[in-house]
Symmetry: C2
Subunit: 487 residues, 2 copies
């Protein structure tokens, strides 16, 4: 190029780029979703298809599926953006009070100012009070709360802090299989070692301590496992952990010197009558000082799930327990490089943790809207379980919580062969054919992890009830046809 | 711990944590700012200080300094959050139209849904049209636009893509000195090699191609320099690059096979009469196909600076030019792991690139608010230059653009000695003493980089005019006293 002849090759190529980025995968928005978007465009352009609509059951995106936002949440956040409306009588008094309280805590009283890197202090205080109420009075310190850009941001930040070593001393991170692929993607990007522990499908996807121990001891031969990630309620499994299981996990983490990461973004999404959400923080503290003063824990929450479904705001928080104060300074420094999480998302989190109280003008409406969402989800969880339960060749655990079912499906050997010939996993072949024939978009189990030789897919229970019913019927019919075709 | 005795040491310690995170620094929110926050709390508690107020001139946070948000920007974004107000006659018709257009492009017509990972398509189209208008009709492809969580997010993402190799083949990233410390922090975190090129303080902080070449050739001895970062208008220098300089840089990048990153977040902030903003994209395309079809470029913009100052929204975009399509797929995959940038920030970006047009009901108000902000900033840039220009021992280049001055200050040898004794850099000693005595918070030059033996600080020009005047006077008086004290 010294003579000005254009260079033949790019600087940034598949070969020269960051190979950790190249190898990471994120199935929830992978090739099947790209294809779904193409099909949507083709439909818009009038191309004939065997369906009239693409239904995206690939991602936990409630509003995209028609769920309406809660009025109060939107009133307060809109007022934070446009305080001129604070004098408008169309807004109830409590929404204005909340907005004023948040704005007063913003620099220059503007949601357009950067917040402190850790998050707006008043909101962190409200988060701490929320946690205390949730956990029956166990104290929470606002200094341990970090407001994040969705839970994903917090999870990646903590993993980032924990990465160290080379070769056999490289940090190992234990994740459930099946998992939410943010974990495997972050681990790949940060070049850590992914240590799988399998959930017990025959036992409602419960976590099994024996399996955990076996996996840990195996991993110690080739890396330094330091972190144990838990997703409860489970994504994609929909499993809700029992209190006893959580105690066992905490005891295990304490014995084995593991840093605990508890992904609790579905804490409001528990549907099964015999299940309840127990936070790791609460169980840890109820196990007494031997544990509560030693076990290092980071837990995560989000505005995107629960009854809110406000994914677009990218709001969340994490609480860190027993973190070395000098490391906490390092954490604060790390998050300060990105300045702060989005203030509208912080405000949204602030309203969620500090909702209207009995006697407030918005109390009744808020609660009825919240209950309507949660009851509807519970109904759809049951319907999913029931329809899959009646379908031969499909085995589906109860959807105890979260927003997904993760059924195991029969895939005949001939289909497995065809998939191999096409360079696809068998469950990907199934999902592609399902999409092309019915417009239904679900994600192959291989994107979440599954035992060798078993096949699954993840679908959300978020489409409106009638649509979900049709979807489930079409899907099971398609599976029946698929099995016949390849038998 | 096998017997249940509590472990003595934490899992996550300064020693065991990610050492790249440990070594990174981010001066803009460093220890001096932590101390400023403590002082604010002490003042609130009634502790006596030689000042009544802490003035934070450490960060480009316009609203925190009292700048008011533009009415139209907030109307549209608030309407996107609370569409019930779309029928309210208090909002002008064009704000409603804009909000409707954005909402129609959201899944489920809700700003609470995830957007496509690359950003809402309609907004990316509007960004492309904005770039075309700005660049005199040079085409921009919406497929090359990525909406980001502030410009920082885009910059870190592109750096992340470019990291590869070990030892002498590790990616080197050329950054100006002084620089905005996001760059050094990202480079440290990602374990790349920072390659400094010094800006020419004697020549208004201009970029010098000779220096660039020398730095590159030196760096090639120990790493693989692949990326050249430019900040124009300059942060912290306030320098605005000439068209000729940009041409030279592009030619240099082409000759030397460097990927160009153009940080253009201050493109609306040009105050000097003889300066104008030229985008790298425009200059690249005007240099003809030899360059426009080969040079790889990513350029960045933000909602946080300009006349908007909407830092809290964390909105921005990047445009990638000549990126290998397969690498672009990898980029899209990488950003999909975080799902999407915050939708309120995307909406804000969408309004900024598609503002009211002549004849629209909001046109006059929008423009007068915009001009008022920009004129006020120009006035404050001049005032800063003038007051520093009259101060012995302070040497300050004209603030041609951006939002900062970066004056060089005399620090007497005795003060240098005292700083050493305290384990501080001399400019940090100056800034700490300034803060403790006057309440003025500015950032030491060492956080941005400076030639050995020279001392600077960065301060914003954002405080309200009268307050800025007082601040400048107090600061120069303090410096005079400081020099005397140590002489």
């Amino acid at each position: 190029m010294e003579n000005g002849t254009p260079k033949a090759e790019k600087i940034l190529t598949l070969e020269s780029m960051n190979q950790n980025v190249r190898k990471l995968e994120y199935a929830v928005r992978g090739p099947i979703v790209t294809r779904a978007m193409e099909l949507e465009k083709e439909l818009q352009q009038g191309v004939k298809k065997p369906f009239t609509e693409v239904i995206r059951a690939n991602i936990g995106d409630a509003h995209a599926m028609g769920q309406k936002p809660l009025t109060f949440l939107r009133q307060v956040t809109a007022l934070c953006l446009y305080p001129e409306m604070l004098n408008d009588n169309k807004f109830p008094e409590d929404s204005k009070q909340k907005a004023r309280r948040i704005l007063q805590a913003c620099s220059g009283q503007s949601s357009g100012a950067y917040s402190a890197s850790q998050g707006i202090e008043v909101i962190r205080q409200d988060v701490a009070k929320f946690i205390e109420r949730r956990d029956g009075g166990i104290p929470s310190n606002p200094d341990n709360i970090y407001l994040t850009t969705g839970a994903s941001d917090g999870i990646v930040t903590i993993i980032k802090l924990l990465i160290a070593g080379q070769g056999k001393s490289r940090t190992g991170i234990m994740i459930p299989i099946p998992q939410y692929p943010l974990y495997s993607a972050a681990i790949a990007e940060l070049d850590a070692v992914q240590v799988n522990y399998y959930l017990d499908e025959e036992n409602f996807w419960a976590l099994n301590i024996k399996e955990l121990r076996q996996s840990l001891h195996e991993a110690r031969k080739h890396c330094n496992p330091k972190v144990l990630c838990i997703i409860n309620p489970g994504n994609p499994t929909g499993q809700v952990q029992s209190r006893k299981c959580i105690e066992d996990v905490i005891r295990f983490a304490a014995e084995e010197n593991l840093f605990l990461m508890a992904d609790e973004v579905y804490q409001d999404n528990v549907y099964a009558k015999d299940c309840a959400f127990h936070s790791f923080k609460k169980v840890l503290f109820e196990m007494g000082p031997k544990y509560s003063s030693t076990v290092e824990l980071a837990s995560f929450h989000s505005v995107s799930k629960g009854f809110m479904g406000e994914c677009g705001f990218r709001g969340g928080y994490m609480e860190v327990i027993n973190m070395d104060p000098v490391v906490k300074q390092q954490l604060t420094k790390l998050v300060s490089v990105r300045l702060c999480s989005p203030v509208p998302g912080q405000a949204m989190m602030g309203v969620i943790v500090n909702p209207p109280q009995p006697g407030d003008p918005s109390y009744n409406q808020f609660n009825s809207e919240k209950l309507a969402v949660l009851n509807n989800l519970a109904e759809k969880a049951q319907m999913t379980e029931k329809i899959f339960g009646q379908s031969p060749g499909i085995y589906c655990n109860p959807v105890q919580g979260a927003m997904y079912s993760f059924p195991r499906i029969e895939i005949p050997p001939k289909a497995v062969q065809e998939a191999k010939a096409q360079g696809l996993t068998p469950d990907m072949l199934f999902c592609i054919k399902l999409l092309e024939e019915t417009g239904i978009c679900v994600v192959p189990g291989s994107g979440f992890g599954q035992r060798e030789g078993t096949y699954h897919f993840r679908m959300t229970i978020l489409p409106p009830t009638e649509k979900l019913k049709t979807l489930l019927q079409k899907l099971t019919q398609f599976h029946e046809k698929f099995v016949k075709e390849y038998s």
